[in-house]
């Protein structure tokens, strides 16, 4: 039974493992699906199985004698090494594959998150109402296009920091320009009025709705504020 089932099986094993080993070596590494470490481990393990097929073929079909003493010793030592290395390499290959899958999942999740973020920002930017995120210090962290136009803000291309607020809003500590502390609060609100004045005398009244963002301990992290397009009043 060994001869007519085992012999073709071990020849198929040798050819298949050798083919797989050559294909893995011929495939460029660095692809997201197969990082370099996974490629090395896979190559090593496939190579070991090429050698294991040869070793099994030689030992099970009693060909050691034909190899001479040194050949038999090589086959025997190869078998020992295979048995010792096999579990470690197999575990390594599994966890390399596991890590590769995890990285792939993270990459996919990041892509989905970026697309979702981009879509949300497009929606927020296209709305005629002004939308702001005000940090807990009263500084504007995020502003949509309408808010930037209404308040004369600009976004730094490199740091994405919002700049350009020369106006002073009601409630700003020490009349600090560009500060919207007056819109902070731990409770949601609608229709809160806030006067904003420019140094040249122009002013607007923001009718704002705000939703506070609280952290796990209940501390204020900032407020998301939206306001309708304001009318600019001249000094005279």
């Amino acid at each position: 039974m060994i001869e007519w089932i085992g012999l073709p099986a071990i020849v198929i094993a040798f050819v298949s493992f050798l083919g797989a080993f050559v294909l893995v070596l011929a495939t460029p590494s660095g692809e997201p699906r197969r990082p370099r470490i996974a490629k090395v481990l896979l190559s090593v393990i496939l190579f070991i199985y090429v050698m294991a097929s040869v070793s099994l073929f030689v030992s099970e079909f009693d060909l050691e004698q034909g190899l001479g003493e040194s050949g038999e010793a090589i086959v025997n030592s190869l078998e020992d090494h295979i048995e010792t290395l096999f579990p470690l390499l197999a575990v390594g290959a599994v966890f390399a594959a596991y890590s590769a899958q995890q990285m792939e999942d993270v990459r996919r999740a990041q892509g989905a998150l970026a697309r979702s973020h981009s879509l949300m920002m497009d929606i927020v930017d296209s709305t005629p109402a002004g939308v702001l995120f005000i940090g807990d210090t009263g500084r504007i962290v995020v502003a949509n296009e309408s808010a930037k136009r209404a308040l004369g803000l600009a976004e730094d291309a490199e740091t994405a920091e919002i700049r350009g607020g020369t106006w002073v809003a009601e409630g700003a500590p020490d009349d600090r320009p560009g500060d919207l502390t007056g819109l902070l609060g731990n409770e949601p609100y609608d229709g809160r009025a806030l006067l904003v004045r420019w140094p040249d005398g122009r002013w607007i009244e923001l009718m704002a709705a705000g939703r506070p963002l609280l952290d796990a301990k209940g501390a204020l992290g900032g407020v998301v504020v939206s306001f309708e397009r304001p009318v600019i009043h001249r000094a005279d």
């Binding site: 198929i12 094993a13 298949s16 197999a90």
Partner: protein, 93 residues
């Protein structure tokens, strides 16, 4: 059963567990699934290798050789599928 054989069986169990875990938990891509299946068969062949010394030597050796053949075909199929997936991913705009 002497100590080295017991140790080998324990190692097989240690290796088989992550395969089952990884394949069930991660639902890998088809190519990777074939490779997992290949190594899973190889782990089982390791078990046959241990049993070969204990019972029905001829049958165990035949099964061992057949399992090697099956594992080889699975590994080759897995690698070919992974290459095909990688190629189709690269060709995507």
């Amino acid at each position: 059963m002497d100590t080295p054989e017991l140790l080998r069986l324990m190692l097989v169990a240690l290796v088989l567990w992550p395969y089952i875990y990884v394949v069930r938990r991660l639902r890998p891509a088809p190519g990777m699934r074939f490779l997992h299946a290949s190594f899973f068969v190889l782990c089982s062949s390791y078990l046959l290798n241990v049993l070969e010394d204990l019972v029905m030597k001829d049958l165990m050796v035949t099964l061992l050789l057949v399992s090697f053949g099956v594992a080889g075909v699975l590994a080759l199929t897995g690698v070919l599928l992974m290459r095909r997936d990688a190629r189709s991913e690269r060709s995507e705009p």
